[in-house]
Symmetry: C2
Amino acid sequence: MAKIAILGYGTVGSGIVEVLSQNADLIKRRAGEELEVKYILDIRDFPGDPWEDKVVHDIEVILNDPQISVVCETMGGEQPAFDFSKRALMAGKSVCTSNKELVANHGAELIALAAKHHCNYLFEASVGGGIPIIRPLISSLTAERVTEICGILNGTTNYILTKMQEERAPFGELLCRAQEKGYAERNPEADIEGYDACRKIAILGSLVTGKSVDYKEIYTEGISGITPEDFAYARVLGDTIKLLATVKEEKDGYLAAVAPALVSEQNPLSGIRNVFNAVFVRGNMQGETMYYGKGAGKLATASAVAADVIDCVKHQGKHVICLWEKEKIELKDFSGVKSRFFVRTAASDEKKAEELFGTVEKVRLDSLPQEFGFVTQEISEAEFQEKTKQLPGFVSRIRIKD
Amino acid sequence: MAKIAILGYGTVGSGIVEVLSQNADLIKRRAGEELEVKYILDIRDFPGDPWEDKVVHDIEVILNDPQISVVCETMGGEQPAFDFSKRALMAGKSVCTSNKELVANHGAELIALAAKHHCNYLFEASVGGGIPIIRPLISSLTAERVTEICGILNGTTNYILTKMQEERAPFGELLCRAQEKGYAERNPEADIEGYDACRKIAILGSLVTGKSVDYKEIYTEGISGITPEDFAYARVLGDTIKLLATVKEEKDGYLAAVAPALVSEQNPLSGIRNVFNAVFVRGNMQGETMYYGKGAGKLATASAVAADVIDCVKHQGKHVICLWEKEKIELKDFSGVKSRFFVRTAASDEKKAEELFGTVEKVRLDSLPQEFGFVTQEISEAEFQEKTKQLPGFVSRIRIKD
């Protein structure tokens, strides 16, 4: 019998209890032994809750109990989650988490600590909630040199973009609807501005490079500037618009970015709708693979943490290799990164646009006679900025996914 | 240093050598030690091949060498692959295979043998080539009760169906083109008639149920009867046609089937194009996940076998639990399985169709005035057969994916 402790009895923490009880029989067979939740750490009491007698308020009870072999950290935030995780690992207890903030900031350090103490620090639920993506990366694509990861990693923004595409409604209205449905937070900035996706791609990038991708260095742009008119142009081009989080190995280094992009209907990412997430991976042997599922949700996330717990139980006393060193990987300067752009500018800029960008493919909408759109050749961010400064009627631009 | 042997130096076998050499550095770091191919078993010699000095003709050399810890079986077919695999496992050597025939027929027995001898029998490459699907099922979805698997598991048929959809060309012409491109065998029956997909869904069904799904008991129907007219109707319905391999837990037992079906454009499987494969999985906690990639191909398949080899190296002397017992699972009698059907019949059958099936949604094509199509309510296979016998102008039917 393996005994586990859960730190934080919120949405995910209580979901783990639910998953472990509801699927107890098959989990027992797959783990090779029964799993018992011995403690639930929370500052609150839960009178009347069927698990109220498991609730403790003092982390020392858990850390000092030699029976506890696995700890689920579902508190979120930096502290005290970081401190508790470190101390659990130092006591030889494996830690499984859904805390992307902590993993993005301290993944390398916590994995090293786990290795030193012959236990594991697992974080499947920190990226893509219910999508198995971390384990495929570190256990299935082990013979691959992964050269690109491109993901739709945030459900809120994908819901809004899907509805903009399908219902032609404006951003503000859809954000309100997402909030009403509980898909978006009251303060939606972390989702809308791409910060959430940025933490997640930093984690995936670190696993792919084996070093630390600092999320603070990733170029990040959100979707609040996307309008129904952008979708009207996208439709003419046979594209849709998605918020893409990318890490890519190029000849001269790794590029990382989070930004909305025009995605062709032929690209499998274009069909990912509503709150679903997907991660596209390119390897040097297998070519393209893609992983799709719910990016969030109580039980989906809890099931991912529970799967990590089972993995820890199967590997008691043995650290499973996960290459993520503390050394920071230097990302390519974003101003040098090249893309093709779709540009909207005033109808009066037509001559100037050709002068600056050469002969370009033009797109016109009957509903917007005062402007036109065009697609540029591949051009660096810096060069593009310089040139668009010279377009007096410049409206907006969006990158095109290659 | 872990020493491995490869049985069969054909497409996949030589691909493994290529993957292991080309990605040697990162494989070494991920496995925790270097991997060396010590022997390649083949009846042929390979003069001039850079690996010709590794080639041996006698399996005993491999079985009797205590240095060999992992054997890759890429011979295909039942014998001598089965015999060699058994003997390797009995000698405590893990076996990694791409041989779906052998896995579908003897998976349970070979896994039990591996457990007994503290080694592993792994077969990621046997289903979906380069798509990580086996490991996600047995290592990531461990906290899930999987209630449905529905996959596009054959690249040849998906290529033909994609082209029928997009180019409106007939089956025979596309089969020839697939053969020219090397996507289809000279004798394409195993692909076209669904036998290949049937083996693969039997393997996935066994892993999900933990017992043995006998592929001979799975209802299997191929795509040779699908015509451009069927696609014309599908377009009107907002659907496409895919060859789906399904295992599903229903209230009264498991159903398993391979058959073409109308798939709604909203279903993520509808967007899987050309030779790509995808596996959709429904769990009781995580809901829907999907796995997408190349279903075949030398390096994609070889990379999957190589990942299994790395897993074996990381677990030397330790059997990793894989629940697949020899006991056969009883599948639901297919005649009792219920579906909605799309039926094509003569225009003169209109009254009879309504008499038999009640008020039905009718679809007419200008190009086919002599017939019409309609969608039935949910109805059992047996009842459907009985009723269509009474339609004198019956043309064809196709099931509708729910």
